[in-house]
Subunit: 278 residues, 4 copies
């Protein structure tokens, strides 16, 4: 099985020039669901990443105790209480990201899974992946993206970390219906589609800090909500951009904070954006 | 019907040199009404724009859950609970901006409309425009400014987006009493007065993100509260300045966030301000 | 009556080199009392100014709804509920600043006035001045500083703004016991001691925005808490520094925000600090 | 007794190059316990310092009123209510920092001391030291670090400040079991191990402001959680780095704020980090 190594070409291919007559509705309505009272920072990092990636409209469904801190960072996002009925929000969303800091909120996850439609993009991150594995939940029919780290993938795929070879990962992925895109977070993160494997060869241990994955999940939401040519390509570009920014910041920092990455997204995207119309 | 294209001349004409003996009372008492618990970010963006535009005193009437995040951004603004009697605040205001993130709060809108006086500037934005259309409310006798995007204008004017030609827009506008200034937000935003049409030819799709209009509404409040020579000119200058800053930021950003625009307003205004006293 | 024009010499004379063996207790324990739920921004601006001026320890007694936004700006400050007994805080303070955003909280003011000791510095600002005038309260025996704008001084001194000449202001000031230092805020702010008048000739209308006075009051608290050679000199230096920073920022800004001034205080102080030990 | 003067060599020796295959679990799970409603800023400063030092995962147990302001600064940290059972958090921690802004919360301190295990690093700061002295609590069997200023050390060691000579400090330290590392904060801070004394000869009175010690405690937590070669060396490096940054900032500031120090940590660490693998 060949692993395709990602290069900056993925950014050039993916980040299209925006047409003049477009409006915010064209760049994705993102619904982010997560953040218990204890893990509220996770959805703040999700949302900062999504908005800075150029998402058109971002709504965050979370514990109300997180509203104020979220708005302190990002008045650009809207909020709603995640214990209320989320159906009206799910219906309007192009992309749903669920799981960062979701903790043990199983009923919110199952209610969401039951309402997602096939044409919607559904990103499952963090606690959502653990809940999926623990409760052996079925995945809904949607355009699925899973973003586990190795331990979460072990739980989901029942493949021990030491056994997580490309072949076994592909085989495990094939047992899910419909087949998700798998972003397996590790040193040199691997991205699996139904029949291809891509590998990240940038990034580094200066990213080994809490919240880094929440920022990545938010970028995937932002990119997939606006770059419609190929879901796979949008995911690959988000993964590459996330570490490209980290590498750049690490030129003068021993560690890189997730929120610092989000602040740099608009500049990186500008640097690689296509200069002529699509 | 000629469309006058806006240029940077509008900034030079409008942004007067401040006289030494003036004080904050000379630069506008702005009352901003909006921001439900879910849409609190909207009034934060309103207020950041108004204060950075040079408003003398800004009070925000909103849901109390938004006080803390607003003050995290902007201790310069005062706050009050929008469910309490707003009459004392309305009485003291030179400019009232109502509607950004107001949601379904009809009674707050109608109470406000009933108290506005003819010499006051009233800016109607966002949800206020939708409520006006849905409930067929009468406009009060005041110096009116409407800031709809095309869909909101469709609801208000009963003119389909595809039919929104300059002639039809002018005709629809003439049905309102007194005639408002209309800021029709779109690609190349158009500004209508009773007998003239102006067009913005700057700005771009890097502005296609939630909250951009809230920032524009706040700038219009800030500009109209302090530049008294002509209400129309103050509106035109605010609209132009908003996109001029966006264009400048977009030289190195793929997307431009509303809060980034507000942070740049004092520098842009300095650049175009008249150097000699008025 | 000669008016002494303030120059940057006041900064050079006042801002002493800190001795190596000093600690935070040497630079002033400041108690700031103010900030209703509606005016919470005022004490945030007070505290930002005091801490950035080099105050050793700052405690803010305010409405609890303001704690979170204050800490979002400034974890360096401590907080307490201003409706609780403030006696333990007043006892420990070197400088007490009361009144910014205090609104109608008369009982907090009178309780504070009754507990201040002669050796303490008491700065009365904003609402405290209005309450003093309205309720004809006696000033306590303390090292007093009043920071009214012209209308507040009119209320306090019963001298109409048009009548506020140096001679009349001095005469009115002499009716207070003990004689306070008066900072009369206006274009070319005047500072009165028992027998001298100083005038600010810097600053400008880019400072005409809400909160500017709250920042000045916080700077006076910070300066008087740490520069012990002369109370008068510390006040003069704070007033001069406040506008010197504004002038500097105004070189590229049409308006200057109070919080922007606070952020620059440590740099200005460094620039004028004595380079050799006192 | 020789005092070893600390130099930048301690940074070069301590700050190792991170191995590529490491993850956040390798860089320390830090539990910070402190921050009453009144002193919430202290744990914000702890956490900012720990995260910016490169801690892998930081959880803050504090009064719930502090959650929002903490997340406004640092969504990277997780939170929990410090009045709830902390056992599950203590069990998972590599480093526990308790005491900054803890006030009179004796039961939280005793519950924590009773659960710490010998292999865990326990940093006792601020109020925890005062409570230890007042209630003559026993220290638990753990890898202990005490961070008193001179008055706190007087209370703990019953040695008057004027009597705190190196010999007496060493002798007093030997009465604790197990022997802690002592960071005695003063002009030219001294660090005592069981048999050695180190002295800081950098830093200055521009650091004499509230919260400076909270930032230092957070840095010690961050450094000891990730640099495993020697606990002593990690403490020394944190102490040195804290003042090295202050000195650098003081080149253009009269005073240096604790939060400004934290923001610079990643850059200082990069500057001194070993360039080749360990």
């Amino acid at each position: 099985m060949t692993m395709h190594k990602l290069t900056q070409e993925i950014l050039k291919q993916t980040i299209t020039k925006r047409a003049n007559t477009t409006h915010k509705g064209d760049y994705g309505r993102i619904l982010i669901i997560g953040g218990t009272e204890q893990y509220g920072g996770a959805i703040i990092m999700n949302a900062l990443a999504a908005v800075n990636s150029g998402a058109g409209l971002v709504t965050v469904a979370t514990h109300p105790s997180n509203f104020s801190a979220l708005h302190s960072h990002l008045p650009e996002a809207m909020v709603t209480d995640y214990t209320q009925d989320l159906a009206p929000f799910i219906t309007k969303a192009d992309v749903i990201l669920i799981g960062s800091g979701l903790g043990e909120q199983l009923s919110i996850l199952t209610a969401t899974l039951s309402k997602v439609k096939p044409e919607q993009i559904l990103i499952l991150d963090g606690s959502a992946l653990t809940l999926l594995a623990e409760h052996q939940l079925d995945l809904p029919n949607a355009r699925l993206i899973l973003t586990p780290h190795q331990m979460e993938w072990q739980r989901l795929s029942q493949t021990e970390i030491a056994e997580q070879t490309p072949a076994k990962n592909l085989a495990a992925l094939a047992t899910f219906t419909p087949t998700p895109i798998l972003v397996l977070k590790k040193f040199q993160t691997e991205i699996y589609t139904a029949d291809q494997i891509f590998q990240l060869t940038i990034g580094g241990p200066y990213q080994a800090t809490g919240g880094m994955g929440d920022t990545l999940a938010g970028m995937i939401a932002g990119f997939t909500g606006q770059f419609h040519a190929s879901l796979e390509q949008a995911v690959l570009a988000a993964v590459y951009a996330h570490s490209a920014i980290a590498d750049d910041l690490a030129r003068e920092r021993y560690v890189v904070l997730p929120t610092q990455i989000s602040a740099e997204i608009p500049k990186l995207m500008h640097q690689y954006a296509q200069k002529t119309g699509s």
